[in-house]
Symmetry: D2
């Protein structure tokens, strides 16, 4: 394979280190994906223009360009690439890529160049991927048939309802304001959530809701279950869309939702059926690890797109100021160099975390995922900010994708655990090395004393 | 005067340095303003809720709470505080505060706590203040009567149309795509501008438009004039509102505007009448200096508001995570300390620049204004970002003012000259000290040689 | 007074804010001090060359240029300027400047340009100033006569022995390894200290030693006393000079010292005599507050010196690279601008803290002192680092004062409390505002609810 | 091979990405090297104590522990590891490691833990490695026999004399103050250099001196030659050792040297003999690329050592302050996490640059080397600074290796090209992508227009 197209997206420095670990099949997919991406980016403007400003219609239609892109992605074999190999692929019935996480990391970065659309077009976008993972791992046969099949096929979408109104959700054991109590042959769900991504979407067919079902369990990690709620069920109230720096991200949205006594059945309405009761925390853990990293992978791509845009503007012959192209002014070249250096480093963090997942599963990759989680979004935001600055007013407007990407990526600094939590966690992980270090230091002291 | 209320807004460190320079009348106004502010902040939510989501109405109504607040500000003597003393006050017919810039700096900071509303409520908001300044200094008697009087009274609003579509406007000599040519008894204006703040506003009665009127003048600084255009005149086309991150800032807006052959008269349609032709650059300079600093003053207030909100959340007993209030976690206390330290420093920059304007006019305060310009917005953005982070998802949503303030203040990093331009400028200003330094160094070398 | 000479050292922005608070006598001293400084700087090289490389002589002689400078400073009325007015001046028998702390802050900054020599030349250097303060406030009449008089006169020098070997001294209650027990008619001192500045100096006549004298006192703050130890007394062992980076700062030094059973008398050997027993913590507090700020004042001056040197090198016509002066390359101008902006801000922190001490004594200025303490040394180090970078290899060598100043100022980031402690402290101080903020927030919520 | 020992030095994230590219022979060497390092570290204190304080002896003896360690390294097969495989190995007569640069990068990092001694002990230290490279590539047979053999054997040491006194050497074409003119049967060298590392060393047998030999050549890159000068030859004057933050790094030193008419012969005294005349720039290029990266490799190791030391202190039960171990205070855990994250990223930059050299030689790895060059030393300095801060006064003293490592690594920010030059260079390298980006952007615009 001539890697020239890859090298336009992934630097030689990174590619030459990982290339021996990428199968030739994956290399082929990467090439196809790059070609596809270069047809997705031109559609971004159309996509946004197809979302109505009229509040009455804004949440009712999906831009018609999207299903076209999805069809094309399927035809090209770019569908469900996130479905990594091994155990999970079997659970998902043999569909999907069967790729390693390392291979997918490269692909997700490329999709990240078109952060909003490309992942959707390839059925690789949150929260659906995580929801499919939960259903594949823990769903009953019926639940898989009813929801997983259609999610894998991209015909429906889904929400994950975890964050609660008025609660510091970064400590998930705080989540107490949504609970389901025995009622009739099932459970009655009462609760108040917000930031339920995708809940505004007309394609949405399922909310997976974290709710307390066993409040008196002695372990705070065994009190919750995941419930499956039909968004059209009685008692589901979409209160309002939340905005992210002014964006409502219609038609998917990030909604405030009330569950006003929604009736769910044990077998169909609890993930895993009755046996799934109390296993909510276990199930959300399974979805968080790789999910966090997927966000980071895409963030590297978004940052790369921003740097590409920065370069175009800085060298735009029509944008001279004081007689020089912007690249000739003060710190612009230095900004470019720093962007490049930071993107390189961020990418390596992501690739090494993906490799660790391949070798040791998400559980064995917590350190690498954590470092990526608190580093990569910050890098992407800095690169985006520099690009916005070079574009001036246009950079923060609807005429460039930068501000919208900024807003989207800014959420990653607190979603799935704020930076601060991950930083503390990595700090504590390092402390685990102290016993070995102290032993070594004591040996050094002994040897030194003898010299 | 007991300064206790001031000290809740301005730190003792800053207050005790400037207090000897604040008149007792100004101290009284500050106290009144603080009381007023604490009634403005509760109205913020209502203000935003009174702006319709319906695109058909969104640009047609002004939130009804605003005129009520304006009436109250007038009654309390909090109107047109920005009108500093001396020459300009006379030009404005004796209205306004007659305060020093230093005194106004304190007040503008306090207004900055409610960044969107308080300045409007006190008729101290951009772009009107700068436009009034231009009219007062350079307008004909008729222009003053027609526009200035009503702007000072707050019954109409205005726009300043400078930035051009597709042009790197940070070098104003680039502005060539809007020009006015002799036509009939006046000029015909053809041009394409964008980011025309306030152009969407139903109260808007005047655009002040920078246009080329003498393209072949040998000096690039004498080719432009300021034209007065009625937004309802034939040929004025409001193309679309631009968005800042995802905010359109209705009803004022930041609009793309085309002037498709708008006829203007020499005497009424050129600022200063026929004698004002070719003086556009001189006139915009007059408005930029203090205007830049006004933004910085308010930015300090916005940052202070953000820190106050951060403190409330960090100590919210309902927001414990992992058993502790947020303040007990890792770096939160350090973040608070850094916010405090950076706000103190930013405030001093602003106060010293205001003092320099008082002593040496804006022209003699370029260095201090420049340092503020490239430092203060960055400080405010960092403080806002930390506050958003502590609030998690809520912080970037419509439920807190933080993200909207962030978006608004982010524009200050490029508006009226991007940071990079001011940084280079201050660097060059420092270089002017080199002659004196070299002389001193040579003397040192001579003395040293003799020792 | 024409302020032109001041404005070469203190920026107009700062000077114009504080000038109304500076007496005309102080202005005169400032002018004289500037003239003097410009004769001190040429002597720096000679000073260092007069310190022998030979370990046998290195700690035995004082550079002969120093007493000459001291004589001149005395003649010019630049002696003991740190002795602020009011209470303390009386204690010191009417000697010294009688200046406000704000006035002294300007002077100390100017001395900071020649960080090692100018403060010594004016008898304004640590640790002597703090030691004199302790003796003046707490010493017996005899102690004042014996030590204070000569220290004020500059004929002897002194040490302050607090930091203990092998102890985390930033929490002073940890200091337990030096204690004095009743023995004969006095106390026998046994202990192990290090970083005892000035202990290597041939002029040194007194160590003020913090030692446990009442180990079982229920309050950890009442267990220590300050003892007065003659460095030539039996049992005093200077173990070795410590190095700061690679500097030993001979002849003063920062020594490891053992007190091997040194006999001290109650009346002459305990600060304050027998009545001073157990008051060690109270006494060191008195010396720490202004002392911390003195370091910050000088740090601003050191940073200014570094920026001046940077400017000279960046414009050196003999140092062109790639055809341009250094100032023409990439980020040099931006570095200069940032240095300027940061120095301005640091200076304001220091000036406002000094003003607070004037108004509310050190105890009432803890917040302002704390912010200065954790901010100003960092600013100075950044400016120095940029200057060193512009000088390349020469910048870190003995041929420029930069690296030595860097090493000296680096110690301020942990001395008298590490940055981290002060940052936490300021964070906590901010939290004290929460009650008022919460009250205000509740009022806002009530008003909002009624709108 | 069980990689447990490697994983104590190189993180699993990095190791698992590169492990497939490391030969099993190299893995064995790595294990041996780790064992050896853990015997070198205890000898550091002894090494420094064996350097006399007496200026008369300080430059005359080599610590006797060093040859012992060297003998052991040779016995263990840890000698000349830097000698990478391929062409160069042949030139060097088959000696050395025959390792890839990637493999050596791991080893150099491990040696970097003991920055001063381990590289010397393994004959892998600058400037000898670069000098050997020059001699191997460009030396005559006789020059190889006379110098290269002994350098490879570690029996002599060498200097590289490039930097000139009073010249901005970062632009090497500035180097004009050292020149050699025809004289008798050879050249007479007159010049003034400084920062000649190793020139103080009693083992030094050869200076490789960059000197102008053809001043009128039209190409500024063909005017210089490399001369071989015996340090004991007539006319060689060692003026003084320069200090780096107070360290003189005896006995090697960084000396100011004058060449006062030193006679050299064409065949023996010009690298490459007469045919080498005018090829000085070509020869120094050959030595700079990998040399720069070697410094970066070691810097990663130095940073890792600092983090290990930081961890030990932060958890030291004897160092509690305010009742807690340091790790429990404020930002210490966060500092640890940031150190870890930054070290990981720095290491990846180095590894990917080393891999690029393996694939495309140094010339094809300029981008990756450049990014490492301006990033890695900065990372190491930040980690060292945090570690020093946690250690307080001890951290910057002779009792910990931190300050000395800081001083040594600080030089890397300007040596072999200051950060600023490399940053500008990488910025320009990125600009080379613009043609391709613009083509892509135009295609996107065309496709978009058709949608």
């Amino acid at each position: 394979m001539g890697n020239e197209d890859v090298l336009r997206y992934i630097s030689p420095g990174a590619w030459s280190l990982v290339e021996p670990l990428i199968s030739s099949r994956a290399k082929g997919i990467i090439s196809t994906l790059i070609t596809f991406l270069e047809d997705v980016i031109p559609a971004e403007h159309l996509y946004h223009s197809q979302i109505s400003d009229d509040p009455a219609k804004r949440w009712k239609t999906v831009p018609s360009v999207l299903p076209k892109l999805q069809r094309r992605a399927k035809d090209l074999g770019l569908w469900n690439l996130w479905l990594s190999g091994g155990e999970f692929q079997n659970l998902a019935g043999g569909q999907g890529g069967g790729l390693t996480n390392l291979e997918y990391a490269i692909m997700a970065e490329i999709m990240g160049h078109s952060l909003v659309i490309a992942p959707q077009a390839c059925n690789c976008s949150a929260p659906d991927t995580g929801n499919m993972e939960v259903l594949a791992r823990f769903g009953t046969k019926d639940q898989k048939q009813k929801y997983l099949t259609r999610l894998l096929d991209g015909t429906i979408r889904s929400s994950f309802a975890m964050t609660e109104f008025g609660i510091a959700s970064s400590d998930a054991t705080n989540l107490k304001n949504t609970s389901a109590q025995a009622s009739g042959s099932g459970l009655k769900l009462i609760g108040h959530k917000w930031w339920i991504s995708g809940a505004g979407d007309p394609r949405n067919e399922i909310h997976i809701v974290l709710a307390v079902t066993d409040p008196s369990n002695s372990s705070p990690y065994k009190r919750h279950s995941l419930l499956l709620v039909d968004p059209r069920a009685k008692g589901v109230e979409i209160v309002r869309p939340m905005t992210v720096f002014g964006y409502d991200d219609a038609p998917e949205g990030h909604c405030e939702v009330k569950y006003n006594g929604v009736q769910v059945d044990f077998e169909t309405g609890v993930v895993g059926g009755k046996a799934g009761l109390g296993r909510g925390f276990e199930m959300i853990q399974a979805r968080l690890g790789p999910g966090r990293l997927h966000h980071c992978m895409r963030a590297v791509g978004a940052a790369s797109r921003a740097l590409d845009l920065l370069l175009l503007r800085a060298t735009d012959p029509a944008r001279k100021t004081f007689g020089k192209q912007l690249r000739g002014h003060g710190t612009v070249l230095a900004d470019i160099a720093h962007c490049r250096a930071e993107i390189e480093q961020a990418r390596f963090l992501v690739l090494s975390a993906a490799r660790q997942i391949d070798l040791n599963r998400a559980k064995g990759a917590l350190k690498e995922i954590g470092i990526s989680k608190f580093t990569v979004p910050g890098v992407a935001l800095r690169v985006l900010d520099r690009a916005m600055q070079v574009y001036g007013a246009e950079g923060i407007s609807q005429d460039q994708p930068l501000a919208a990407m900024y807003a989207g990526l800014r959420t990653l600094r607190y979603a799935d655990g704020p930076d601060e939590v991950h930083i503390q966690q990595i700090g504590k992980t390092e402390l685990k090395r102290v016993d070995e270090l102290r032993e070594r230091a004591e040996r050094i002291a002994r040897v030194r004393a003898k010299l």
